[in-house]
């Protein structure tokens, strides 16, 4: 009797990071039920809200790169398209509810993504990555060049409107965090559902063996463009969160190539082709600099200024990327899974 309870209890205690409904429910309970009450404004404003926006962007890129195997360096461009599209929809079509603005902004980002995904029909790997850079530079250029996008602000800066749904407005740090959490939760659930369908299998087939996929009858053109569309949609929505819920004042320069790389690093460190990996990677990228600055300040005192922080951050993240690419291409999520499995084996061998 005791052994039975032992073995049934052990997995639930250790499997909080492996994908199951219970784990997701627990995290949501924590996210809605606990964090808003006990978390500080700083935690929600400077840590959790950007974490959620980046995680959603990483999910978007993971759909394209991790699942469908199409490399992209244009993520920041689609963030920007989402942010500026939502801003303009809100400004110019005031009768539309904000949720509709967000969905439409995602759709506009998807359309732009599909256009810039067209080269994927001919190019792959490195060459495709370079061609997605075109999106990166074009979007940033267009947003600075044409004042219309920023309602004629000289440097393209936009001030995000207050997030308002019906009579509810989400102005406080807590409100904006809860709003982001809700959008990210819904988007993640829908993405997980899609990836479990035939479309998700088609993505992986195109990634793993394009010729075999074609022979079987996977529509290559449609599958690749769909990957670009869905990916850009998700990144576009993440851009709205980034601009409306997190920064609230954004400029085109904030969506530069560095941002694209940041999102790429999130999925490499977190784990390619894994939704959990996107969250774990985003958490790492957000929390790591904070930890590093605390640690640096504690160890080195005033020598560790922001310049040193930024440099050491780049060095460590660069080294980590290389380490992961060589030693564990499946990222942190694989390390965690392996640790959980090892702990479980240990438990079961003890009992």
């Amino acid at each position: 009797m005791t052994t039975i309870t032992e073995t049934t209890v052990a997995p639930t205690r250790l499997s909080w990071l492996t994908p199951n409904l219970l784990g997701v429910a627990l995290l949501l309970l924590l996210g809605y039920g606990l964090v808003p009450w006990i978390g500080s404004d700083y935690l929600m404003d400077a840590v959790l809200t950007p974490f959620l926006a980046l995680a959603l962007a990483a999910i978007g890129l993971n759909v394209l790169t991790g699942y469908a195997g199409q490399v992209s360096l244009g993520s920041a461009a689609f963030l920007a398209v989402g942010a500026y599209a939502a801003y303009n929809l809100n400004l110019r079509l005031p009768s539309l509810p904000l949720l509709a603005d967000i969905v439409l902004a995602g759709a506009i980002a998807a359309a732009v993504g599909i256009v810039f995904g067209l080269p994927s029909l001919r190019l792959r790997g490195f060459y495709l990555a370079v061609s997605t850079l075109a999106a990166q530079f074009f979007v940033q250029w267009a947003l600075t060049k044409f004042g219309w996008f920023s309602n004629d602000n000289a440097s393209g800066v936009i001030d995000a409107p207050v997030i308002r749904i019906g009579s509810l407005s989400f102005t406080s740090a807590t409100g904006r965090y809860v709003f982001s959490l809700s959008i990210v939760a819904v988007a993640t659930a829908l993405t997980a559902r899609l990836l479990a369908s035939q479309i998700g299998r088609n993505f992986i087939a195109v990634r793993d063996h394009e010729v075999a996929a074609k022979v079987i009858g996977v529509p290559l053109l449609r599958t690749k463009l769909l990957a670009f569309g869905i990916s850009s949609f998700l990144i576009g929505v993440a851009g709205v969160l980034w601009a409306f819920a997190y920064l609230r004042t954004v400029e085109p320069a904030g969506f530069n190539l560095d941002r694209s790389f940041q999102i790429l690093f999130i999925i490499i460190i977190g784990g390619l082709a894994s939704l959990r990996g996107a969250f774990i990677g985003a958490a790492f990228i957000v929390v790591f600099p904070l930890l590093l600055s605390r640690l640096g300040a504690a160890l080195l005192g005033s020598v560790f200024d922001s310049g040193v922080l930024e440099m050491s951050q780049r060095i460590v993240i660069g080294a980590l990327i290389i380490a992961f690419l060589i030693a564990e291409p499946r990222g942190l999520v694989a390390l965690i899974d392996r640790a959980v499995a090892a702990a479980r084996r240990l438990r079961s061998s003890q009992s």
Partner: protein, 305 residues
């Protein structure tokens, strides 16, 4: 990936010079029927190659090859390394465009077979080098063999419309059946890339079989499989024909397997078909023996049996 890159860059100026009844310099052991006509009395040809030639730059991979594969037969294609066997299958599946000749599926003739339509034409194939989707489970690899049947768009799949759910359920049932048929239940949830080689070969066979193709092209399905595995796999191949009525074109080096399994054997050598007939005839065919003796080849002793 490399393969498709090569095919797209194949710059072939094909001349539409094919005509029925072109003189063949091929040593046929069977009277070849004129293309388009029925083999007298016999079952209709599921696959017919008419005068296929293919070259890569200066290298001729196939030269005036004709081939008739009757419904429900197992047709082996043998020949030394580099004889053009895989190239032949690549022509049949549209990955290569021949310089001349036509490929017939039943009554449809193609200059270049449209690869994307292959599954809908009832043709499935396996590859000489494993071509599984390594990131998917064995079951999902089999399931995706039915990709061409999923015609619901992404919104309907996302919301799970009745049509989408019905197709998914039908496909899952079909995949489940083939998994059972090939005894893959134990590994159905394992990631395909993590399976041993022989099992991966079997998963690939299952993926090709799940669509119940009229024509199944197998490129060395037995290579790298253990001896006992070979016997088992051979039974599965024959079982596929007996159970689903599938016509099979089989490329294989193991002469023992080929003799036991096939109804007819075509022999390629340097891109030419040098013989075509029932196993007993091929075994004693002088041209075949010469071809195998002429090149240092591991199978020559096996042929002598």
């Amino acid at each position: 990936m490399l393969l498709s890159a090569l095919t797209t860059s194949l710059d072939v100026l094909a001349l539409e010079t094919w005509a029925p009844g072109t003189a063949r310099q091929v040593l046929d052991t069977e009277p070849a029927a004129a293309p388009g006509a029925q083999v007298s009395g016999g079952p209709r040809a599921v696959l017919r190659l008419a005068n296929i030639s293919l070259s890569f730059g200066g290298l001729t991979a196939l030269r005036d090859v004709d081939l008739d594969v009757a419904e429900g037969e197992i047709r082996a294609v043998i020949g030394p390394n580099g004889a053009g066997k895989s190239s032949l299958l690549n022509v049949v599946s549209g990955l290569y465009r021949p310089d001349q000749g036509e490929v017939w599926f039943g009554d449809h003739a193609f200059r270049q077979v449209p690869t994307a339509q292959l599954a809908r034409l009832g043709v499935a194939r396996t590859f000489q080098n494993l071509a599984l989707f390594n990131g998917l489970s064995a079951f999902d690899n089999v399931l995706i063999g039915l990709a061409h049947r999923v015609h619901t768009g992404f919104i309907r799949q996302l919301v799970g419309s009745p049509a989408a759910r019905r197709i998914e359920a039908e496909n899952r049932a079909a995949a489940e059946e083939v998994i059972g048929f090939l005894h893959l239940q134990e590994v159905r949830d394992r990631i395909a890339g993590s399976l041993p080689y022989g099992l991966q070969k079997r998963v690939e066979l299952a993926r090709a079989l799940v669509a119940r193709p009229k024509l199944l092209l197998l490129d060395e399905p037995f290579a790298g499989v253990t001896l006992s595995g070979k016997q088992e796999l051979a039974q599965h191949v024959r079982g596929a024909r007996d159970r689903y009525g599938t016509t099979i074109v089989l490329i294989e080096h193991d002469i023992g397997i080929v003799m036991g399994l096939s109804d007819h054997i075509a022999v390629l050598d340097y891109g030419r078909k040098i013989a075509d007939g029932p196993p007993a005839e091929i075994k004693t065919n002088q041209a075949v023996i010469d071809a195998y003796l002429g090149v240092a080849h591991e199978d020559e002793t096996e042929l002598a049996i």
